[in-house]
Symmetry: C2
Subunit: 488 residues, 2 copies
């Protein structure tokens, strides 16, 4: 173990130790205080990363279970050690895990690439249009690819990388010819499509499940897509153009027919597995859109879809076993969801809200509070290298503060759920696909951060104006409403 790791581990041991030694603040039961200490440890661990996420979570989950068994509970509280494992029963965890299989299938079958080359063939005779093809392609497969690594990193990036190469743009000698523009665009576009569907990015479901008990809201897959559609499409349509103006590629015209023909030739004729995947993809979409009428929730749809892909052998179980991203996500999402649910049960967030209520005085300025929270939710992303860590650390806090400030819970929820995705575009470490794309070598930090800030804060502006108006309209028409009963 090297020195840095030792230091980081030391910090993670100290946090709970110190909190366990300090008596709990007034109004918070001892168990809530101690569990908060361990939750804080998990969050700090996710940020400073002495170990990978699953290890951090397994450690804090185990410690939390021991703590529950060894801390006296208030008389009216029932809390069992296995409560911290509740995240592994959560539909959220299984939704993400199951949809990862579908993400992987788009990569392994080659269907994603095939769609891409067809789009290039039809539409992309300029570099700008290549940018729009990227946006359209990403949007098309986003509903079934919550793994950004699979979608942007595994499908869109490799194609645009080889296109840049075919256009004679080299990372060292002439990145600005085409690659610089195309790569930036791949990332910025995927951060916009990521909030357009519940299933377009893994942390979406995580954020929703953490916010739901605090704000007493719920959203179906269809409601999510509806709310995101207007601000999302506007941002998505503007993105390739804005980047084009900021850093215009030297090459304007593209011989798209040649590129597409070569790519399609390499793929060969359409395989049975691709056709089957197409059917399954449409089934998944149908399931999510019509889940209300089918009487199944989004997680069950994802499970059915996963089972189907395995049964008709579009993906083999061995492929699933090898898909490390899926297992990592299963373990650490399940862990953090369980910890957060336990913390809620132990009365922590209620206590936090009570404290904030007496200390923060927003008066009648609940809308200003909402806007300030959304601004901070984007700006703070410069500090987070992982969307998941941001969700675990900040979403419950933002939700509680906004709730106390009297902001409309649904507007607050939608604002935060969406900024969770586009907030990640601002840095070259803001999302899982970023290092892959940045690693291609076409881009420099400065231009990435400049474009990232423009797209990030630009999206914020769109969401705080047109977005808020659209959501208020949807609420007023009853398309979206505060749920009376919570679906876990």
């Amino acid at each position: 173990m090297n020195k840095t790791k030792m230091w980081k581990l030391g910090i993670l041991v100290l946090i709970p130790l110190i909190i366990f030694l300090i008596p709990p603040p007034e109004g918070l039961p001892l168990i809530g205080w101690r569990l908060f200490g361990l939750y804080l440890t998990a969050i700090v661990g996710l940020v400073i990363k002495p170990y990978s996420e699953p290890v951090i979570l397994l450690g804090t989950v185990a410690a939390s279970a021991v703590t529950i068994g060894n801390t006296p509970l208030p008389e009216n509280m029932v809390l069992k050690p296995d409560a911290v494992l509740s995240g592994y029963q959560s539909g959220t965890t299984w939704l993400v895990f199951a949809a990862f299989t579908l993400s992987a299938a788009f990569v392994t079958t080659g269907l994603g690439k095939r769609i891409a080359y067809h789009l290039i063939d039809r539409m992309a005779n300029t570099t700008l249009k290549l940018g729009y093809v990227t946006a359209f392609l990403d949007l098309l497969i986003a509903p079934a690819t919550p793994s950004n690594t699979a979608r942007a990193g595994g499908i869109v990036f490799p194609i645009m990388n080889s296109v840049a190469n075919a256009l004679g743009s080299d990372p060292v000698t002439n990145p600005r010819r085409a690659g610089h523009y195309l790569m930036l665009n791949v990332y910025m576009v995927t951060k916009s499509t990521s909030y357009m569907f519940l299933t377009a990015m893994a942390p979406n479901a995580l954020a929703l499940s953490m916010m739901a008990p605090i704000l007493k809201i719920n959203l179906s897959w269809g409601q999510w897509a509806l709310a995101a559609a207007v601000p999302g499409l506007i941002c998505l349509l503007l993105t390739p153009l804005v980047i084009y103006f900021c850093y215009p590629p030297e090459l304007k015209k593209v011989n798209n027919k040649e590129i597409a023909a070569k790519g399609l030739k390499e793929l060969g004729p359409m395989k049975v597995s691709e056709k089957l995947l197409l059917v399954i993809f449409l089934m998944a979409l149908g399931g999510w859109i019509f889940s209300k009428y089918l009487r199944i929730d989004a997680a069950t749809v994802a499970l059915c879809v996963m089972a189907c892909t395995l049964i008709i052998n579009v993906v083999s179980w061995d492929d699933v076993l090898k898909n490390k991203g899926g297992w990592n996500t299963l373990i650490w999402y399940g862990g953090i969801i369980g910890l957060s649910a336990t913390l809620t049960k132990a009365g922590f967030f209620k206590w936090l809200a009570d404290v904030l209520q007496t200390t923060l005085q927003f008066g009648d300025h609940s809308t200003i509070a909402l806007l300030v929270i959304l601004f901070i939710s984007v700006a703070i992303r410069y500090l987070f290298a992982s969307g998941g860590a941001y969700v675990a650390a900040m979403v419950p806090v933002f939700a509680t503060v906004g709730h106390v400030a009297g902001a409309n819970p649904m507007l607050l929820a939608l604002g935060l759920l969406f900024s969770n995705a586009y907030g990640g575009c601002m840095t070259h470490y803001g999302g899982a696909a970023a290092p892959i794309i940045f690693g291609a070598g076409y881009n420099d930090t400065k231009s990435w951060w400049i474009v990232g800030a423009i797209i990030g804060f630009g999206s914020l502006l769109v969401h705080c104006t047109i977005g808020l108006a659209w959501w208020e309209f949807l609420i007023s028409k009853g398309y979206i409403s505060l749920a009376t009963t919570l679906v876990r």
Copy 2:
């Protein structure tokens, strides 16, 4: 997809279809009947295996969730689709998954081999004593190696295989010189140690968690070990000797010093990771034995131990990701436990008990019923290629029938929990390690089945005589008692 697979898949589709078309028997709610159809599908799937276990379970879990959402529930029943995911919150699932990490660590660090060679060096100057060293070694590491594949297949088998080789016994030319005896012994011994600790075989915890709600019993790690100790040690001590008499190896004397020296030289000096694993192993044992005083359950101990091995880097997270057996078990155990719990909630086992109560007439012969059930539980194992499939299919049925017959629930539980392990010794496909050992080529089916029958039914005899007496003694002294509250 080949023809056999198509046929098998057809059967699995037909089973729920037929059951869904038939109206439910009197007294069983529609939802209980339909869920039973899917549970039956899972069991048949586990037996005929058109796919690996996790795929079968993911499919039936998804179908059960859809069924719950689309079947009218009786007025007094609350059942949500995510109930079928409850197995993934179950301590049983996590106990097994976490302990798999420890199993793997014994193999990867080389600690298992080192202990083996030291034992050979000290004790094994004849082939019979080699048999006893095998038994002792297996018993020593059994408490922390629920993966039979890791313990027998990954540690004990490779050593005894190379010992047989060093003794000049070849699978083709002269298997009877030593290999035939040593290999048979490795397998029979591991089937005896497998029931001596809750954590010595993966299906143990599974069987307990399926039996507990039906028989209203519970067992701690320590109570399990105590109950198994007397019959287990007797069987374990007899096993090497019995096989020795049935098929005496031609070679009697062994140059153990030379074999041990060579093996230890290959291992080199003891590594830090081995020392750390030894400490962790002792911690795990301590945790399980004193769990009552530490106020933590066996699953939490296993989680803590897993977290420790990862944090001090005895096992890396990447090793865990590569350990396919662990993930397979997590998915399919969690699935079957969830299905079984849902079936219980839907009133199926209560209904089954009511029906059996009126049709089966045991009168005052509850002890005979107990003995008959135990006999069948062993004999039926000729039909099952997997211990897990046997547990899922038969354990709930045996428990229900025994309960109805008025057998002492704790005697019935202990009898079934233990026969679950030694019942697997009868065939060369009875447990996960069997194909590995049989595959070495020293053994033929006939001698394996003869010895298996002797050890299997011999163990049954010991358990039905000395075992029953010992358990009755423990119950009368209050060391083991029927739990008033159930720990899930």
